[in-house]
């Protein structure tokens, strides 16, 4: 607080100037200016004092009557607090229950997923055997064609192909396809007119018979079968083309027309029942 330096020092406070703080702290001087000695009638005094008592009492009563309301509000709030606490506890319990249920369902899901997986792998296995699923693997590729001179004796017949395919099965083939037509349990190799049909599709020579199996044993075992010997004879006597090649990777498509008409799934006995 920078005080102004006047040459005359601080101006003397005027007696009329009202200093707020001094006025507040100074003793009440209402009575130091008595104007009128007044009558000594105590009526006004009594009235004022009665009024004072009345005021104080009423104000106190007012505050007291307000208190029960506050108390009631507080009680209501406490009650609601208790209710909410109970609800929180109940909800927590329900959350726990739900968590347990989730865990149980998850375990069950894993279990069923495992059984689904087992079924799927079994289905794949069966599909590979039955021909309903595409398969790949090492195998042999047998190329058969009519003889170059076109004589009837050098023509490959449907029975020759049947024999060859049966020979391949015999030699240990796991899946066989002729010119990309997968052989299934319902496949037929027949002659229709001039052409040989497999799965009702006409084929044109050369016939490529692909078989998946053990590449070490399959060619040799094929040549030991009747089919192998027959084709070896046909090759040497009539010029029929007959080549056996091993392939590291063959891919056979899924067979078509695999529809079950009469067979139905038998209920599989489950373990533990």
């Amino acid at each position: 607080m920078a005080s102004t330096h006047s040459p005359h020092g601080a101006p003397p406070a005027s007696p009329d100037a009202y200093d707020l703080l001094a006025g507040l702290t100074a003793a009440d001087d209402e009575y130091s200016h008595p104007t009128d000695p007044g009558g000594r009638s105590p009526l006004g005094l009594v009235l004022a004092v009665v009024l004072l008592g009345l005021l104080v009492t009423v104000a106190a009563a007012q505050t007291q009557s307000g208190a029960p309301q506050a108390e009631r509000d507080r009680a209501i709030l406490l009650e609601r607090l208790e209710q909410e606490k109970a609800q929180v506890a109940m909800l927590g319990e329900r959350a726990d229950q739900a968590a347990a249920e989730v865990a149980m369902l998850r375990a069950r899901t894993v279990e069923s997923a495992e059984s689904v997986q087992a079924l799927q792998s079994r289905l794949d296995e069966l599909g590979a055997t039955a021909g309903s699923a595409a398969v790949r693997g090492p195998g042999v590729r047998v190329v058969v064609d009519n003889s170059a001179d076109g004589k009837p004796e050098g023509t490959v017949l449907d029975t020759d192909l049947q024999q060859l395919v049966n020979g391949l099965w015999q030699a240990g083939a796991e899946a066989v396809a002729v010119n990309g037509q997968r052989l299934t349990t319902l496949s037929a190799i027949r002659t229709a007119g001039e052409a040989i049909t497999v799965n009702y599709r006409s084929l044109s020579p050369p016939y490529v018979v692909a078989a998946i199996g053990d590449t070490d044993s399959l060619p040799a075992r094929l040549l030991e079968t009747d089919a192998g010997r027959t084709f070896a004879d046909l090759r040497s006597n009539f010029g029929v083309r007959f080549e056996v090649q091993t392939r590291a990777a063959l891919r056979l498509p899924a067979g078509s027309r695999l529809v079950l008409n009469a067979a139905d799934e038998a209920p599989t006995p489950r373990a533990g029942r």
């Binding site: 702290t25 009575y31 006004g44 005094l45 009594v46 009665v50 008592g53 005021l55 009423v58 007012q62």
Partner: protein, 110 residues
């Protein structure tokens, strides 16, 4: 003596009648009480000083109460009612303390 009797009469009256204060007057009641207390302590001090005057007391009592209530009412209308209430209570409280201090000096010489 008559003052003490009057005070007792007022308290008893308030307790017996239990007048219900109109809602619009309720905010001003505590302020009026403080103002009345201020006037009362001023009167007590004046009495001890020997300069008590009934007329001054009655007029200061009534005017204190009315003015305090009016100030708060004005504050309410201006939206600063609670602040003005605080101000009035502070001012009257300081006056009450200074009066009581004077009374104490007079009575206990301390």
């Amino acid at each position: 003596m008559i003052a003490v009797l009057g005070l007792a009469l007022g308290v008893i009256l308030g307790l017996l009648v239990e007048p219900s204060v109109p809602a619009f007057l309720q905010p001003y009641l505590p302020i009026a009480v403080v103002a009345a207390l201020d006037a009362t302590f001023g009167a007590l001090r004046a009495f001890l000083d020997g300069v008590f005057n009934e007329r001054v007391f009655v007029i200061s009592f009534v005017s204190n109460v009315v003015i305090a209530a009016l100030i708060v009412y004005l504050g309410d209308q201006l939206g600063v009612g609670s602040q003005l209430s605080t101000g009035v209570v502070v001012v009257l409280g300081i006056r009450i303390f200074s009066n009581v201090a004077a009374i104490r000096r007079r009575l206990l010489h301390a």
